[in-house]
Symmetry: C2
Subunit: 313 residues, 2 copies
Amino acid sequence: MYIGIDVGGTNLKAGLVDESGRILADARTPLDFRGAEAFAADLAQLARDVLRKGGVSEDQISYIGIGLPGAVAHGSVLYTCNIPLKNVPLAELFRREIDLPVLLENDANCAAVGEWLCGAGRGSRNFVTVTLGTGVGGGFILNGKLYAGGGTVGEVGHMVVEKGGALCSCGRRGCWEAYTSATGLIRMTRETMARHPESLLHAVSAENGGRVEGRTAFQAARAGDKAALELCRTYVSYLAAGMTNLVNILQPEILAIGGGISGAPEELLLSPLRAQVEEECYPRHIGKLPRIVRAELGNDAGIIGAALLRRAI
Amino acid sequence: MYIGIDVGGTNLKAGLVDESGRILADARTPLDFRGAEAFAADLAQLARDVLRKGGVSEDQISYIGIGLPGAVAHGSVLYTCNIPLKNVPLAELFRREIDLPVLLENDANCAAVGEWLCGAGRGSRNFVTVTLGTGVGGGFILNGKLYAGGGTVGEVGHMVVEKGGALCSCGRRGCWEAYTSATGLIRMTRETMARHPESLLHAVSAENGGRVEGRTAFQAARAGDKAALELCRTYVSYLAAGMTNLVNILQPEILAIGGGISGAPEELLLSPLRAQVEEECYPRHIGKLPRIVRAELGNDAGIIGAALLRRAI
């Protein structure tokens, strides 16, 4: 058995995971960062919690995998996005608490491993995950192994698809993320609302306390609103541009989409996306179309992938 | 020792290659396609030629690697771009002539392997080649292995960098290839000439018998022509957009540029390209800048890579 820990921006989550990727017990605690050593102690306490809940002892655990939102190398955290960890030997600090082997990996890579072994990517040799959330992240399984590149790999969101286009948080213009993240969709939704005072988008937003969210466009489109339907088509056209790029560059057998936006209605998101990628991608010339599917494991992907990490490295 | 064969659109070239990647003897013959079996016999004859020239016997050869402009799998050619080979068991046909192990691979992948082992990519674990020729091709060494994906992998030229932009031969609009191939640069050069009758581009072309080539823009720019300098800046900005995308997606340690255009003057091509990629790429956030260099082996890369293929698979 294994323990997988997923370090999020606000919560730490851990799971006791068996060989088949089932979570037998889990635990979570709010992230309360009080320095690197206390952080390692909190992770160890979480591991002890799932051992206790699962009725399992330390010597039944092969290793502990930890997914972190940042770059890691050789048991150290090089940096993380939301937590002040920089060049911290986390594996060593953790092992002062629990003396088990520790594997560290980027959290998006862990989620890709989880989906590959137990979710949408099962059975494939080349597999790409794309997560449409506040930003756009990605993970690659290539040649049957996690491709972790230089440590911050899979910054697929920062692929320019419209040179000179919308300004991205990374400083470039026209990044895929600037159009296809929830943030990008919300920006385009607000722009559409400003251009179309008659649109149902206003009513949908008003019902939601005046908030504009990633789903606002899909909700109004589903109700038949013309401006919202056009907005959804534009959104999918940007999504398809980057997806087709990834298909042409890497030719994965399966491409899985996760994150909040992936829950949008099939006929507004996945169906037109598949049609556009199939029409434009290069491998169509040899009849090798990729399968484009929804990610299956949701928030558990990170825990499961961290726990089964050794199979992918 | 090994034999590497590079199947081009017009010529077949073979080399006798030693452990260190040196070509000890070579031979070439025009491509004269008269069916799959005759083609295999021509390749075998070429192999015999280099054995004879090198004074080496068959039993001193470990295997023969063959690079082809198309997709291969399990000893068969699935298709090629310029030669009517479709689902042909080439390895088997070849072994009827010479009974040595045969490895088949895409020619761009062979060139990437050659550059990785003996040229611009030496010592790296993650390495990308981009060839700027009539089209734009690519090859990837990832995790220290050739990444051959679905067989037509590395279609990096068909990555959209300007959604809705210039029409590409693949049917998409705004592909990187439509701007950065020699074909794309020639198109942009003609457009610049039409807009700028005063430009030196006209004189450079006239000196060249009225032809506009990939180097026309660089020649006029080097002579100080304003319109040509602006054209070269535009060209490099497109080149940098796609290069930065590849850096963000794959984070190679080294990115090598080959093909005719890579011979352009350093100050007009590589220097501004490096500056733009370094300014825009995501790994700059962790101080991990890729090295952008010229490919080193020229036309020998394919032969050397085919000969040393086994080290990369």
